[in-house]
């Protein structure tokens, strides 16, 4: 369906074609990046339906506002930014609604039901890990979550994440750090055991399927 002559073009060239009126250019751009944009929306919103709605809003917005793109960032950065903004905006609206009806009790319920998804019966199964991480991510502030999604989950360089979020590199680092600290009590059991007992010291790599490598910059020894 997509015009083959477009496929060799860069993102920026595609966007240019789109602005010039090419009916297929934006579709191809979307095709290239949709999975990552989906991951961003889904992980930020923690809800597939919300994510689909946010992404639809974002893509309509990007489609129509392509003429505003000035080329001072990568096209992908621009697309990500629109998706993140649409997602966070959705959360803010929801929070505003919830605040008037539910209040803190809702949060507490959430904590009670989702804060500790049992992972003890089938330790370190990949699926359980995913579920636990997803559940835990819901419990941290959206801005911290968005930063962690970009940096830790999708592996974007901090500078790229900063451009997407339109904040400084330092702020990205700070949000990630605080987010990780917040996640710690919810996810600690995945590596050490069900409790946060500091005595459980030697289980670090045993329960984890990962290779034990530590992300760059995350070493505790500075």
């Amino acid at each position: 369906m997509t015009d083959l002559s477009l496929s060799g073009l860069s993102d920026a060239q595609l966007l240019e074609r789109h602005v010039e009126g090419d009916p297929d250019a934006f579709g191809l751009l979307f095709l290239r990046h949709r999975d990552r944009l989906w991951a961003v929306a889904l992980r930020t919103l923690c809800d597939p339906e919300e994510a689909a709605d946010a992404l639809q809003e974002a893509m309509i917005s990007a489609f129509r506002r392509a003429g505003d793109f000035r080329g001072d960032s990568a096209v992908t950065t621009w697309l990500h930014r629109i998706v993140v903004n649409a997602s966070l905006d959705r959360l803010r609206r929801k929070a505003a609604h919830a605040a008037s009806s539910v209040g803190d009790e809702g949060t507490l319920d959430l904590l009670a039901t989702q804060g500790r998804v049992p992972a003890t019966t089938d330790p370190a199964s990949h699926r359980d890990t995913t579920l636990d991480v997803e559940a835990a991510l819901r419990l941290i502030p959206p801005e911290q979550r968005a930063a962690l999604v970009l940096v830790d989950m999708l592996g974007y360089p901090v500078a790229d994440a900063a451009a997407v979020l339109d904040i400084s590199v330092g702020t990205v680092k700070s949000r990630c750090a605080r987010g990780r600290a917040r996640l710690l009590p919810y996810l600690e059991h995945l590596r050490g055991g069900p409790t946060a007992d500091p005595a459980a010291e030697d289980g670090i790599s045993r329960n984890r399927t990962a290779t034990g490598s530590v992300s760059p910059g995350q070493g505790g020894d500075g």
Partner: protein, 309 residues
């Protein structure tokens, strides 16, 4: 083990790891970590959090979302190439608003006024925009009474008729989404006619059914099937101008397969569904009773899987 000052909390450890703490404070914390098993452990756990997050696989976009978004983009592309857009009368300042605000406007999934950006960007559509602008003038004349006559439309007869002809001609069979500035277009007014078919020829069912959120998809499918199987047995109404404007705005100019004046969760509402002829995708909206061109009042939007039977 040396005795140290108070334990370091997780946030500080995380900030230290992220390189956000330096100088004497960093030295002090490192010194503490060297002698405190508990804090060293916590620091290691924190590092693991990142690893854990990285290990979670990124989901691919599900097929139904792909389909939906492709349909959205196709509709956008169709709108864009449709010349009958509203004139670019809002200022650039309006479009300089944040994405957040823009998406709020687009949230109802209805067509918003064609942006100046679009108008600027597509020089190819410039000629057609003039036609649309003519139509807009006619609207102004209609509402503005004795303005200066700017064209033949103002000279004689009911202006709306003239305008209808203009808008229909501009439409050329393509979706005429910019209904904000357009009056009711009768379904006979399909103009210049190199388009595929008359736009938005539809009638309204008055089923009185109370659609429920939980069974909405199934109920809509049932009604859609009735439309295709036994249309004759139903009483159909010609849409009111308000219904027409509402539907054309909601669907973005695509002719609906079903417009049912009914109820939703006990409230008066209208169900608008697109057919899935030729395409693998169908969608439906529930709109409130106040739906019009200027306010679509969308209560619910659903996509309908077409394969399910």
């Amino acid at each position: 083990m040396r005795r140290q000052s108070a334990h370091v909390d997780a946030e500080v450890l995380a900030e230290l790891s992220a390189g956000l703490i330096d100088g004497k404070r960093a030295t002090r914390i490192h010194a503490h970590l060297a002698g405190c098993q508990r804090c060293a452990q916590r620091s290691a756990s924190l590092a693991e959090i990142s690893t854990l997050l990285t290990s979670v696989p990124s989901p691919r976009m599900p097929d139904d979302v792909v389909t939906r978004l492709n349909a959205t983009l196709a509709r956008e592309a169709a709108h864009r190439s449709a010349p009958a857009t509203a004139p670019a009368r809002s200022s650039d300042q309006d479009t300089a608003n944040t994405v957040v605000e823009f998406s709020r406007a687009a949230r109802g999934r209805r067509r918003v006024l064609a942006s100046p950006v679009a108008a600027r960007a597509f020089a190819a559509a410039a000629a057609a925009c003039v036609v649309a602008a003519g139509g807009y003038t006619a609207v102004q004349l209609t509402t503005g009474g004795s303005s200066t006559p700017l064209g033949p439309a103002a000279a004689n007869g009911p202006i709306t008729t003239k305008h209808t002809a203009t808008a229909g001609g501009a439409a050329r069979g393509l979706p005429t989404g910019g209904v904000h500035a357009q009056p009711f277009i009768p379904k006979t007014g399909n103009g210049a006619g190199n388009g595929p078919e008359p736009q938005l020829a539809f009638k309204v069912v008055d089923s009185g059914i109370d659609y429920e959120a939980t069974s909405l998809r199934a109920q809509i499918k049932t009604e859609l099937n009735k439309v295709t199987s036994s249309a004759a047995a139903r009483s159909l109404h010609i849409p009111t101008p308000q219904q027409y404007a509402c539907v054309s705005d909601v669907t973005g100019g695509t002719a609906p397969a079903l417009v049912d004046k009914a109820r939703f969760q006990g409230r008066p509402a209208t169900i608008i569904a697109l057919s899935h002829v030729g395409k693998q995708f169908s969608q439906a909206w529930v709109v409130g009773s106040s739906c019009s061109a200027s306010k679509t009042d969308i209560l619910k939007y659903v996509t309908l899987a077409t394969s399910g039977g």
